[in-house]
């Protein structure tokens, strides 16, 4: 059994331009590690959506990715405002994004549903005023 490889990233909440850098790096790492394009794409899109959310809704946060041959786990944690109604936030098209965010090409309310669709499991832990922790797992078929 090979051991789990861990990656840690700080996601800068002040910088929209750099949002997604962690996901791009994970994508490269997974490619180097030899995962299939399908797995790589699912992990990187789910993480990218989560990273963008941390930047546009929560002022940034941290991303930890745990890679082992059977599964890839992504944990995104922020100290933003939290999500008041998770089932509402999970609905396609629901968004509290500002017009500014929309003019940048995000805020269609597809991020969380997309993250769920591309992963095998997704758990949201959120407390108002404290922050949000999202744990996603993509299983690697053997």
């Amino acid at each position: 059994m090979s051991e789990t490889i861990q990656f840690h990233y700080d996601v800068d909440g002040e910088n929209f331009t750099s949002a997604g850098e962690a996901s791009v790096q994970i994508k490269q790492k997974l490619r180097q590690l030899g995962f299939t394009p399908d797995i790589i794409r699912r992990v990187s899109i789910a993480m990218y959506e989560g990273e963008i959310n941390m930047v546009i809704h929560a002022g940034g946060g941290v991303a930890d990715v745990f890679v082992d041959p059977e599964s890839i786990k992504i944990i995104l944690e922020d100290h933003g405002p939290g999500i008041s109604d998770i089932s509402l936030a999970m609905q396609e098209g629901f968004s509290t994004a500002t017009d500014t965010v929309r003019s940048l090409g995000f805020g269609a309310g597809m991020g969380l549903p997309n993250m769920k669709r591309y992963t095998d499991s997704m758990e949201i832990d959120s407390e108002l005023g404290k922050g949000t922790k999202i744990t996603m797992v993509v299983n690697v078929p053997i």
Partner: protein
């Protein structure tokens, strides 16, 4: 499309078969599957990242939008071709469509 090549000129001989057009990166991430070309009027670094995430090969900026230097650097690093056309989205898409690029599997 009367397009200028911004970067990636050495990849221009590659064949592509499908495309999609959108200014909402959220929608591209949600609905697009296996399209090789993204047409957009949006210019920021997340357009490049979205194309990277979706394993696309080419971005066409419509209405002569020219990306900033840092976007071009990002694109070069990931081997993306960037083109700029004076055409508007509708016309640019129409031309590519009529040349045989489908929107297959793109639910937009």
């Amino acid at each position: 499309m009367n397009a200028n090549v911004i970067c990636g000129a050495d990849s221009l001989d590659k064949d592509v078969y499908s495309a999609c057009g959108s200014d909402m990166m959220s929608d591209v991430l949600a609905f697009v599957k296996d399209q090789a070309v993204l047409l957009t009027g949006l210019v920021n670094s997340q357009v490049i990242r979205t194309a990277q995430m979706m394993d696309m090969q080419c971005i066409v900026f419509v209405r002569n939008k020219i990306p900033a230097e840092d976007m071009i650097t990002l694109a070069k690093n990931s081997g993306l071709v960037l083109l700029a056309t004076p055409l508007r989205m509708y016309e640019a898409c129409g031309i590519l469509y009529s040349k045989g690029l489908t929107g297959s599997k793109c639910n937009e």
